[in-house]
Amino acid sequence: MEHISDAIYREAAKVSLYKCLNRSTGQKMSAGHIFQNFPHVPDDNKVTAYEHNGDFITVDDDMRQNTSRYSNYPEVFITKETARALREHENAKSAFLPHDETVWKRAIHAWYEMGLSGTLEEIVNSSGEVPPWTCQTAKRLLTFVRFANSLHGSLFPHLSLSNEAMITKFSNMTNWKTSPLRAFAWHPHTTKFAYAVCDDSIHVHMQGNELTPTLKHKLQKNVADLAWQPHYASVLAVACQSCILIWHVEPTSLATRPSSSSVQVLQQSNHCPVTCLAWDVDGRILLSSSPVDTAMMAWDVAMETCIPLRRVGGGGVSLLKWSPDGSKVLAATPSNIFRIWETSHWSCEKWSKCTGRCKAACWSPHGDVLLFTTENEPVIYYLTFSGMADESKPLIGGSQTAVACLDLSEVTVKTNSGDDVRVGGSIQDMVWDPTGERLAVLFKENSSGTNRYIAVFRTKIYPVLDITPCGFVKGFEGETPQHIAFQPKFDRGALLTVIWSSGRLSYIPLNFIPNDMVEYHKFQENFGPVHMQVSPGLYSRFTDYS
């Protein structure tokens, strides 16, 4: 099925969006930009602390102590000094091998480690030390090798990038290469998270535990993504340059450096660098993808086997998002194509004719709405999916067209104190909170060279998708956000975590009551307490039945 998102649909969507805005804000809107309708932009010397009664509360910049701390959540701050010290050891090889080793020797080492493509890459990386023609030849050969490895018809420019450049391009971190933290992942069930530092070690933090295990392994290089296994206490999948590592971090163990015996290595030829990982909701299957491989691998981790899911076209898989209900997976490619897979029989629908590569995407909690954005256009599109009509036949049920619902192109807005700032631009990443009520958008660098604000929107999915402005999140002066994530389990609304360029991790609680809870209470008020006689807990029905 081919789907077109053409101008007509986009216009229609804008109109409907403004209708939504009108209805929800109750103001008469001028034909302005969405950012004009945002609450005030925080001043330079203010820091966003939390959301309360629908407003973002900012505090003064000098109250540094309080902002990166939240109840008894672990406090994380990778200082500049440690980050710089770490960055010098970035390449593990340079730490161990004498520096006067020639490029050819290194190439031979790379041959033993990673084969032909490794050698070529080593030569391309050290272009200063080899004659230019060699470098050129190596580059072409590398392109050819990767092209030959990924079965498809047309040449893709991303295949000639080096591993690091490729990860930087496809990671959801802004500036993956220079960022002090390179990947971050929340545990799906408890207050526990892991992050990768630029020296390729991974730190695991748990609530109420001072112990922070540090995970290191000789194959753990250029970590691009982390993912915790659902329905499991402490299994972490790590996407590395040459393989996938599965760490079993014993939650009750007192070891700060788990040994490499608690690691499983999953390796597949022609499937590196791995840049994206996604577990299915049951934690049974791990999907991994690499921008150079047209197949995404479905790993059975316990058996250490994998099944390739290959479709020709696109040149690789750059982004994977499993819908929260587990029924669908989005797989974006480095070209203008993305696919939606259904997970009972693993068939897929292809969406082409996008304006660019699908850069970021997020699913609604029930997996019926998908928001996505392309690389070179600051517009968020949405797709709706209908439920299954007939269970015996797998159905993806995507709508015929992708509809543009938000235009976030760059504009100048005024801060509280009246200064002009530029906000918006092309989108780096976006995340939807698990209740489906808040959407946070992280931008790429705009024309002023930075992008200090994260835009947060209120969303309502039923009866029609409705996105309204909520507020901006800002860090300390000079900090730019690198990565955003919502904690999957949070009782009082949603908890947004932001990694800043300074190496600081901040928690921004968005306090609100989810809509369905409100509806439920309204229902109870109107129709009386229906369930009051019934005791809470399981045995209500159980005792009735017996």
Partner: protein, 577 residues
């Protein structure tokens, strides 16, 4: 009324097998063409090579060979279809592994493989023509005497050898083991993703086995040759003989032999793969049936179908699929009977699932006891206190049992001093056992008779796929019941489910710790995937318990669970397991 197994064989198994064989035969056409193209390769005359090939392909001779090959292949795959199994055979010793080949069924299949291999190689020689074509040729242009064509014989013998090798690999390397894929993709994509890796592995494998044939032929090649010439009154050629170093260094012959081997092996392996893909496809059994003739062909009957394990596997596979993906069928499972209002459907499924879980649990527990009882018991020495294991009731009962097992041995030791006759007898016995144990220690004999590492542990988990599906299905159904079970039929059995899962989980954890061998590191064996089933079971159990706890949340505490189970559940709730 016909039984479920009969019905299944007639309506499902035969159709699936037939489809697989049809596709194998269809694939045979391009494969044969490719073979002819590659085998008749002439580097010096490329143009002639292509034209010769094209003429050969459109000739009647080729089409007849192809028809013949198809017929042979259909026969071969029909016979092979009985050799596949869903439960791999695990032998305790190497000798036992070889002995399993000597069973009647295996021997027949071995003969079939060898004969078919020979016939295919013979067809190959016919298609190739030239010096391979006939068994005999005129010794001299002038004379009337016929000589034995050794090239022809060589290829046919190689065909037989390849067939035999395929047969041993089929059984010893468990190529006949059907593993259900983790994802249910469409068959086309499954085949597509396996065709190329299979070709690579076949090429490598043929290269590996061809050298043994050359060595064998070098030393023993004269036996079949002389036998042939004696029985068919053909003369031996004086010009050349192949069992010399010079004769075997023929590159063209090696090339032809290699492709002949690939041409025999690859379609067979492809056929086996297709057979596995078709027969491991998901099959939907009805949860209940309104028709009388189908009353005994529902899901529960499939789950109980132990004699035909493929059917039982498909049943559990379907149950697992149902529990995850099908709302309508879950509803049917949770429904009450009319009239009467009993949850028969659920109760039946639950009892089957629990019984397979408990069955494995008992096996594992027994193995744990064996390990504990065979472990050396520490003598109480000096003021060192007894190592107390009385943390929970189970371990203390283990100790009691281990003492019981030790008891008879000590009494025998006491009695020996009493009667002389008995002591003689005993001496003889010890001498015999000593002799046997000495005998067993000899390198070659210990190679065959020595117990393979972990073999016993493997034997326990050999059919663990059933338990994996049962556990997964139960947990998914339980999790779904929180929303969908309107009569609360699942909640009745929740304590039972949780207790069974937890005890199995605990026993397996203990077993993998004590008898797990060297752990999963270092046993990266691609051919023996089933070895990792125990780890999969361990993982599945944990995640299943987490899933139940996750969906029921704090309500779990309201269940009246035994104290130790509750303690365990609490640690699961804190995500500390």
């Amino acid at each position: 009324m016909e039984t479920l197994a009969e019905w299944f064989t007639r309506e499902v198994f035969r159709w699936r097998t037939g489809a697989a064989i049809t596709w194998t035969v269809i694939m045979l056409c391009p494969l044969t063409t490719m073979y002819l193209l590659l085998a008749s390769f002439h580097p010096s005359h490329p143009f002639q090579w292509i034209t010769d090939f094209l003429f050969a392909v459109i000739s009647l001779h080729f089409i007849m060979s192809l028809t013949f090959l198809s017929l042979i292949s259909v026969l071969f795959h029909v016979i092979s279809s009985r050799t596949f199994t869903v439960v791999p055979y695990i032998s305790l010793t190497r000798l036992a592994a070889f002995l399993q080949l000597c069973k009647a069924q295996c021997l027949t299949y071995g003969t079939v493989c060898a004969v078919t291999g020979g016939i295919i190689a013979w067809t190959c020689t016919c298609m190739l023509g030239g010096r391979y074509a006939n068994l005999s040729f005129r010794c001299d242009e002038s004379s009337d005497a016929y000589c034995l064509n050794e090239y022809h014989l060589f290829l046919v013998l190689y065909g037989i050898y390849t067939g035999l090798f395929y047969f041993t690999r089929h059984y010893l390397q468990q190529q006949n083991y059907m593993q259900f894929p983790a994802l249910q993709q469409a068959k086309v994509f499954q085949v597509r993703s396996q065709i190329v890796p299979l070709l690579y592995s076949t090429l490598g494998y043929v290269l590996w086995q061809i050298k043994f044939f050359y060595i064998l032929y070098y030393f023993f090649g004269y036996i079949p040759r002389n036998w042939m010439s004696k029985n068919s009154s053909l003369k031996l050629s004086t010009v050349y003989s192949l069992d010399t170093l010079y004769g075997l260094l023929d590159v063209v012959l090696l090339w032809q032999t290699f492709w002949c081997g690939v041409f025999i092996q690859y379609p067979w392996s492809l056929g086996a793969t297709l057979f596995k893909i078709y027969n491991t496809e998901h099959f939907e059994f009805p949860v209940t049936s309104m028709f009388d003739s189908f009353k005994n062909k529902c899901l529960v009957d499939a789950l109980n179908e132990k004699p035909m394990s493929l059917l039982q596997y498909l049943g559990f596979h379907d149950l697992c699929h149902l529990s995850k993906h099908s709302f309508a069928r879950r509803k049917e499972l949770f429904s009450l009977s009319q009239p009467g209002g009993h949850p028969h459907n659920w109760n039946k499924v639950l009892s089957v699932c629990l019984s397979v879980i408990i069955e494995l649990n008992d096996k594992v527990q027994e193995a744990n006891w064996l390990v504990l009882s065979s472990a050396p018991i520490r003598q109480p020495s000096g003021d060192k206190p007894h190592p107390s294991h009385n943390r929970d009731g189970q371990t203390s009962s283990l100790h009691i049992r281990s003492f019981h097992q030790l008891a008879p041995i000590t009494t025998i030791g006491d009695e020996t001093g009493k009667t002389v006759g008995q002591s003689h007898q005993k001496q003889a016995v010890t001498f015999k056992t000593k002799l046997i144990s000495n005998f067993k220690k000899r390198p070659i004999i210990s190679y065959f008779l020595g117990e393979l590492p972990e073999a016993r542990s493997r034997q326990i988990y050999v059919g663990a796929q059933i338990q994996i599906w049962a556990v997964e299905a139960l947990s998914s159904l339980t999790a779904a019941s929180y929303q969908e079970d309107s009569y609360g039929v699942v909640q009745m059995s929740l304590p039972k489910i949780i207790t069974a899962m937890l005890s199995l989980q605990e026993n397996i954890d203990r077993h993998l710790k004590t008898a797990g061998g060297p752990g999963r590191k270092g046993q990266k064996d691609q051919t023996a995937n089933y070895l990792a089933l125990r780890y999969l079971l361990q993982n599945t159990l944990k995640s299943s318990i987490y899933r139940i706890i996750d969906s029921f949340g704090k309500c779990i505490i309201d269940l009246r669970l035994p104290a130790d189970v509750e303690k365990k559940i609490k640690s699961f709730m804190d995500y500390k397991e």
